[in-house]
């Protein structure tokens, strides 16, 4: 019944056995993406093992060590209250990462739910939800976050909420567009023809196929959210002092920028590398997930 040509053709395809492996294969050939991945993994490790790596308690005040230049005891120097900058940067990574991941997850969940319903069901539901999305995204992103934080007061929990709430609109739009695209596919029709219910079709057939650009945007967005958290903390609306945050460290150091530049340089470098890492990774993922690049492989 089967032909040899079919069998031959398929045999050579055996080697690449999963979609995930194929994406990884493409990702690892992109040097910038690997640099991004390295930075992100490095940040995660630092955040996870902050208490092991940090040589000092990040909130321990030691006024006699005030404003020490970087030296062997304090690798990145100390701030005006004599706290070790290196330890504060390391613990700051924890705050940044948690805010980045949690706020993005909140945005993602709201966005996926609204976007999937809008895109799948269409009609008046879609119009209504998209107008709500328009209203939310009509506010400038950062201004809305500032307004919410001013209203709720600075705390980690409120940052999650504020940055999560302001960020979902882009997800909703992105996912809606993808769902509309995917739901017209033949395989969705095929799934319907075997009697699958709406919920099953959305969760099992549409969303996994709509996810590629969402993954890319999520990677880029975490960087953006970390930057926003730093901005809020810089304005005194973010992580409540004395807990370390890169943004508030910048704010505390800005008065000493000319005589103790290490106070602003290290938090600046930390923010820069983190956001760079996420952006490079996001860009790399975009290239790796783009199916059109397949053509180059097949030649």
């Amino acid at each position: 019944m089967s032909t040899n040509s079919d069998a031959d053709k398929t045999l050579e395809l055996y080697e690449t056995s999963s979609l995930f492996l194929e994406i990884w294969d493409r990702l690892k050939r992109n040097k910038r993406a690997i640099l991004g991945l390295f930075l992100v993994i490095f940040l995660i490790l630092v955040a996870l093992f902050a208490n092991v790596i940090a040589p000092y308690d990040p909130v321990q005040i030691a006024l006699k060590d005030s404003l020490k230049e970087p030296n062997l005891a304090h690798l990145m120097g100390t701030d005006v209250l004599g706290r070790d900058i290196f330890s504060r940067i390391i613990y700051g990574a924890r705050a940044s990462l948690i805010v980045g991941v949690v706020a993005t997850s909140i945005s993602l969940v709201i966005g996926v739910i609204i976007g999937a319903f809008s895109g799948y069901y269409g009609g008046w539901l879609d119009s209504l939800m998209m107008r709500i999305t328009d209203i939310f995204s009509a506010f400038p992103f950062f201004l809305l976050a500032i307004a919410i934080m001013t209203f709720l007061g600075p705390s980690l929990l409120n940052i999650f909420f504020a940055l999560g709430i302001v960020g979902w609109t882009n997800y909703a739009r992105l996912i809606r567009g993808q769902v509309i695209l995917v739901k017209e596919s033949k395989y969705i029709e095929a799934a319907r023809s075997i009697g699958a219910k709406d919920r099953r079709i959305i969760l099992r057939h549409i969303l996994p196929n709509a996810l590629a650009p969402v993954i890319v945007y999520t990677a880029l967005n975490i960087g953006g959210v970390i930057l926003a958290e730093a901005g809020l903390s810089f304005l005194g609306l973010g992580v409540r002092p004395p807990a370390p945050s890169w943004g508030s460290m910048l704010a505390e150091g800005k008065d000493f920028i000319f005589n103790a530049s290490w106070l602003v340089v290290w938090p600046g470098v930390a923010i820069f590398l983190t956001v760079l890492g996420y952006n490079l990774l996001g860009e790399g993922l975009r290239n790796a997930l783009d199916p059109r690049l397949n053509l180059r492989r097949i030649k």
Partner: protein
Amino acid sequence: MDQELLLRVKELRTHFYTDAGVIKAAEGVNLEIRIGETLGVVGESGSGKSVAAMSIMRLIPMPPGKIVSGEVMFDGKDLLKASEDDLMRIRGNDIAMIFQDPMTSLNPVLTVGEQIMEAIMLHLKAGRTEAKKKAVEMLKRVGIPEAEVRIDNYPHQFSGGMRQRVMIAMALSCNPKLLIADEPTTALDVTIQAQILDLMNDLKRESGTAIMLITHDLGIVAELCQRVLVMYAGNTVEYTDVVSLFTKPMHPYTWGLLRSLPKLDVWAKQRLEPIQGHPPDLRNLPQGCNFAQRCNHKKPICEQQKPTWLEIEPGHFVSCFLYEEEGKRHD
């Protein structure tokens, strides 16, 4: 002849309401399929073949589509009046479908095994291990080598012909009573086409599944089908057994179709005779017979009234004014 009736569609009308106007994609579809029989549905692109099939399964996207009227009796139930829950049970279980393009009808992020198992778990209430066993068995039945390994592969690791086999395995996994195949071989090359058609025929003989085969290839019809339905511009124009269709076709459109085929038995070099003109705009159908403007046997009444669907001879239905009086041609 006295096989039991499985599906009867009567005066089915499906319209699409678009910004550019109402598209009458199916405008009076009549057909019958008996248990275990293969019905070929032929007609040019846009004649409403696929829309009719999708309407039977109630898979027309609504909006913009709407099944305006008609009756679809399947196994004693009117599917147009059935609840959505009932339909979910029927789809994939009693009626299954194979689509034209196997390259796009499989979900790229799920393994083929997962996709075959989906229908089995949904309808046969089987557990995962049991469903997987059944899926492997189905893959073997449709002639996929090393089924135990291939079941964990993704669709992009299969060639076009293999994917269509997977689609067939998926469709037949719950032993449906009716298989709707919407141009199952159009996207495949000719040798693979023959294999797939043979496979469908073999499986039909084994399992007694009736097939509604949508195609525009009269050769396939001659080979596989017992009965034929000819469609034109949303109408069913002729319905008969396959022998009558080729030996004594009755509708002028069917004559045209047959004349436009290349013939092997004609000795001289002979030009094919195409049917002149174009099918009418489905948004703006003529008042009379849809085929009137292209018909060589047109009468005045053809442009004023729609012909009715008449049984001219036992089992031979035609919708044409040439036969309006007791099967007598009067032109």
